[in-house]
């Protein structure tokens, strides 16, 4: 799972090592990437929202 999260984070930046990508795309379990993607997405939203709340003070 941690690996999947790391890959999703790399995808957010659009940069990834070739070897890592090859492994990811060889994975038989796309579900874990979807879950990781949703998770990272949620964290992202919360993060931006937090920044906004802080900035609004």
């Amino acid at each position: 799972m941690w690996q999947a999260i790391k890959s999703v984070l790399a995808a957010f930046l659009g940069v990834q090592k070739d070897s890592r990508r090859r492994e990811d795309f060889a994975s038989e379990r796309p579900g874990i990437f979807i879950v990781a993607g949703l998770l990272v997405g949620l964290v992202f939203v919360v993060l931006v929202a937090l920044v906004a709340v802080m900035a609004a003070r």
Binding site: L13, G14, V15, K17, A55, A56
Partner: protein, 375 residues
């Protein structure tokens, strides 16, 4: 490569045009408030950031197009990725954006600080006019388009402030923090004056607020900025900023004028007087929907000429003008027009364009109705 040269020429021309674009009347106005200046500078900063990025990116692009032409025998390289370059060009824009977000956030917080206002104005959008109420001052009036129909149709020459003039401007004191409370009676409107950098939607059933502190006396013009139906183009906003003393005088004059207008209520009005006054009122508030000849625009705006149900029922007619129609474009005029105006316009509608009811309504009758309402 002729194609390329034309491209380059085009690029140069637009670059050369940029200073022209910054000349007056081509750019966002700097405005007359501290906020409008802040917004203007944000606008210029982001504009120049875009120009610089554009010069770099398009420069690299046109250099490549020129330098690596097939017709010049260029051989294609084979590289197709480069991690560190990709990281750099992801990171740099990110940093620029963070840098941009900081001043934008500060300005936005300032815009949202409506506390400690010196004067509160309630602004109500109506199809297609603005109504202003000076809260706590007992002054309220409606501001209609001041440009004549003839100018719009081209029969008359268009004036200097074509479509940006009103019969009664919103008068505000300079140097004071004025809080604007905005709402609407029908659809969504948006109150906008570029020089004041205030644009805020007026939403039916809800209240929005914004504020302005004008620094220089003057007349500032704007328009409704949210599509609100047929005459969206014809509901301008005009703000007249005056010194505090002048503003206080104006408030007194305004109250006297309102008292005077209501004065004629008690006397008996002749048919001719009512028709004459009624025609004025009709032209100012009714004609944009029901048309100057009373033909209307069915099915949304019913015809008044030859409207038998209306002619048959005087009471219903008065009631409709006074209280409006729910969920339709017909507003309630009880707070917009005074008793004389309502009496005159109803009389006019019943006796113009071939309507020959012969009825006339006296201001005193209307006043009774209204007084009952607001005693």
């Amino acid at each position: 490569m002729r194609t390329l040269l034309v491209w380059m020429a085009g690029g140069l021309t637009s670059a050369a045009l940029t200073p022209v674009a910054l000349a007056n009347g081509w750019n966002m106005p700097v405005g007359v408030t501290a906020l409008s200046r802040d917004i203007y500078s944000l606008h210029m900063i982001i504009f120049w950031i875009c120009v610089v990025i554009g010069v770099i990116v398009f420069g690299a692009m046109f250099y490549s197009l020129f330098r690596y032409r097939h017709s010049r025998g260029a051989k294609a390289a084979t590289f197709h990725e480069h991690t560190s370059v990709e990281v750099i060009w992801t990171a740099i824009p990110l940093l620029i954006l963070v840098g941009m977000a900081v001043p934008a956030t500060a300005t936005l917080k300032n815009m949202y600080d409506t506390s400690e206002a010196d004067l509160d104005i309630m602004v109500t959008g109506q199809q297609w006019r603005w109504r202003y109420e000076y809260l706590g001052e007992d002054v309220a009036f409606t501001s209609n388009l001041g440009t004549s129909r003839e100018q719009i149709s081209g029969a008359d020459e268009k004036g200097e402030h074509y479509l940006l003039e009103v019969d009664e401007p919103l008068v505000l004191p300079v140097g004071q923090k004025v809080r604007l409370l905005l709402t609407s009676d029908d659809v969504i409107h948006s109150w906008w004056v570029p020089d004041l950098a205030v644009k805020q939607d007026a939403i039916p059933g809800f209240v929005n607020e914004n504020w302005v502190r004008i620094e220089e006396p003057g007349i500032y013009r704007g328009q409704c900025a949210e599509l609100c139906g047929k005459d969206h183009a014809f509901m301008p906003v005009v703000v007249e900023a005056v010194e505090q003393e002048r503003f206080d005088e104006w408030l007194v004059e305004r109250k006297q004028a309102a008292a005077q207008a209501a004065a004629g209520v008690d006397r008996e009005w002749s048919m001719e007087e009512l028709m004459e006054r009624g025609e004025q009122v009709y032209g100012a508030v009714c004609a944009s929907c029901h048309q100057p000849d009373g033909s209307g625009n069915p099915p949304v705006f019913p015809a008044l000429a030859g409207n038998q149900p209306m002619l048959d029922d005087l009471d219903w007619h008065v009631d409709t003008v006074v209280n409006g129609v729910s969920g339709a474009a017909m507003p309630a005029f009880r707070s917009t027009l005074n008793a004389v105006e309502i009496a005159a316009v109803v009389t006019y509608e019943r006796n113009a364009w071939g309507n020959e009811s012969g009825d006339s309504v006296q201001p005193s009758e209307i006043a009774e109705r209204l007084a009952d309402q607001s005693e």
